[in-house]
Symmetry: C2
Subunit: 415 residues, 2 copies
């Protein structure tokens, strides 16, 4: 089948999804979860082919790790689907309702987005996770995974679709693109007649390419150049705990901190202790001139302009000394990717100023940036973390996969 044929089927299926009940959708998710666990050996076999091909192609161990499934990882995927069953169904919720003087009763009702195009990289679990969230929110999904995971994705989708034939959700609701070419993706980016939204998940390059080339609306997820600012009145222990946690708890994820900003007067007293704590965690430091001068006994490379904009995703941190909260805010608004930022301070005034003026999805007072996450926010599984300002911002749970419409009740009103 061609991309166009698959997109048409997904759109037809989306129309069918509008009449399903919560129970029918949940039944489909549970049936899919069971099917995954009943087919572990097939999945591992298909996955082994991808791993073998990846080894032949001499890819990095990190990539192979992302690609590799195991019995435990398959159980995790199934468990993930079961967790989505527990989430409240957003569809049909009446968001607002009011009467007009002419007697019209207007309601604003949550509805599915329609067809969601997912474009993602190596991890095959995204195939299952995204499908579960999209279906629960009443959408259908057109999946375009990495060609390096094609064999795994084909097997997963085959199992999921076979499971759906035993439920009210049409199997056409899950479509996998299998051509694996650049042209296929390029066509997908322009399918405004069939796709309601595109969600790219993966590295910065993938996301940029989708944003730049798509005419279908995009939910931009992604890059996190997160900052922690330690203000004049920060408690030294709290500052150390938050900075060390934000940087080193899991440095490869988007909500890890990349740049540390420190108020000049606090720095004079406490900077050396703080940087020593980071060094003990094997963090490589890149500092501004004032930082290097103040902490001259610590080995700190010179930070370049590039460092301020860098998402290291590893054990490296840029450090700058600033003269005020306003300077910290200006630095952040200049270099941040609008993901998550934190201020550590005892000053309510500086905290409110920081939270008002920093233009990012999540702005913390006295807490680690690591909390920007669907589970930590209490949303449950997320489809990604939005760094754009339209439609959805921050961790995107089920409501981010919905739209609304106005349903209006009249008795013959005309203008």
């Amino acid at each position: 089948m061609t991309l166009l044929e698959k997109a048409k089927l997904a759109k037809q299926a989306a129309a069918q999804m509008l009449t399903l009940t919560t129970e029918e959708k949940n039944k489909a998710l549970l049936t899919m979860a069971d099917a995954l666990e009943n087919n572990i050996s097939c999945i591992l076999e298909a996955n082994a082919k991808d791993i073998e091909a990846a080894k032949q192609a001499n890819v990095t161990d990190a990539l192979i790790d992302r690609l590799a499934l195991s019995e435990a990882r398959i159980h995790d995927m199934a468990e993930g689907l079961r967790q989505v069953v527990e989430l409240e169904d957003p569809i049909g919720e009446v968001l607002e309702a009011w009467d007009r003087p002419n007697g019209l009763h207007i309601t604003k009702v949550r509805v599915p987005l329609g067809v969601i195009g997912m474009i993602y990289e190596a991890r095959p679990n995204v195939t299952v996770d995204a499908t579960g969230l999209c279906l629960k929110a009443g959408n259908t999904v057109l999946l375009r995974g990495s060609s390096s995971a094609l064999s795994s994705n084909q097997m997963l989708v085959k199992i999921l679709r076979e499971a759906l034939t035993h439920t009210k959700v049409p199997e056409e609701a899950v479509q996998l693109l299998e051509e694996g070419t650049r042209e296929e993706v390029n066509k997908m980016l322009k399918m405004n007649d069939y796709l309601d939204v595109l969600i790219p998940r993966g590295g910065a390059g993938l996301i940029r390419s989708v944003v730049e080339n798509a005419s279908v609306p995009v939910l931009e997820t992604g890059a996190g150049n997160c900052h922690v600012y330690v203000d004049e009145s920060a408690k030294p222990d709290m500052a150390r705990d938050i900075v060390v946690n934000a940087k080193t708890h899991r440095p490869a994820v988007c909500n890890a901190a990349e740049t540390l900003l420190v108020h000049e007067s606090w720095a004079r007293e406490h900077l050396v202790t703080l940087l020593t704590a980071l060094k003990e965690k094997n963090v490589e430091l890149r500092g501004c001139e004032r930082t290097r001068k103040l902490a001259e006994d610590i080995s700190i490379a010179e930070a370049t302009e590039e460092d301020w904009g860098n998402e290291y995703l590893g054990y490296t941190m840029a450090v700058a000394i600033v003269d005020s909260t306003d300077d910290a805010i200006d630095h952040i608004n200049r270099y941040s990717t609008k993901h998550s930022e934190a201020i550590v301070t005892d000053s309510e005034e500086n905290a409110r100023n920081f939270q008002k003026r920093v233009d990012s999805a999540a702005v913390y007072h006295n807490a680690s940036t690591r909390f920007t996450d669907g589970f930590e926010f209490g949303f449950g599984a997320e489809i990604g973390i939005s760094t754009q300002k339209l439609h959805a911002r921050g961790p995107m749970g089920l409501p981010a996969l919905t739209s609304f419409k106005y349903v209006i009740y009249g008795t013959g009103q005309i203008r």
Copy 2:
């Protein structure tokens, strides 16, 4: 100044807007309104140049009418700004707030989008209307009007900006592009670092071009191929009133109906009367074969495939007979632009089915499609009517010009 310089200034101004109070923004709108009324002769003079140039270029009377300002139209623009003052300020509203088991207090707060790029056609009043709405919602605006209205727009923006110098809103919050070239627009469509959203307003060609070529997120407004479906149990008088109103009350606007669908059994009894009423209003009809056969005494042209997808914006209506509500729904979902549709019926069941399955921004039971409008919904002035499903759908008032962020209060929490 170049486009880039103007965009940078708009972005800097957007950062300043974050700290303004409602009173400060309202003061700016009132000052702008007064300034317009104090400069009527300058505005008319500048507008006369545009009109003169348009006449030289032999453009249509309709275009000249859209371009032309008068003393009354200038008062209307000023009054429009004063009405926006009366609208509730959406900024700072706490949309949700909750506590996490670890003690984090999370709030979801409404914030401005940032910098809004408006791309629009002839009407110079959009310059003022859009500026008022954008500023009230705490945004700055980069305006790109039609080159045919350049002289008028330059004068309007000059007056608005001069007025802002007497207020807390920075005059850089309003930027007008003046180059008038295609390249200028093309560059604007790609300014993801400076623009948070683009809103095109104008004909279908303009909107399609922006959607297809922009990498900045777009709020798609526009085309309305709206349908009225008259069901089996529709009251004949109500059906006639709604159909005639939806088609003829103001046929040139997007919420006017373009296609009439009629249930076969209702048609046998009442179609001739209904079509006669349309004919009396000088509506030209294009019908399916069954329609033409059933109403053979009425002159009805043969509808082609193209008619079903056409937004006539005038006194023309396509008519088709269908066998059921489901057939009507399928027809609508196939040809509609997802704007507004109505069902006229006495059957609650058919009405609920129609409202659930029709995938449009506004779905009416027993009312005219003409109500899809910011004022009719009670929102006040609107920036356009969204026909996409992301971010905003239907009439877009001030909340559509906002985003949100998570403001999180901790006491030293780490993961």
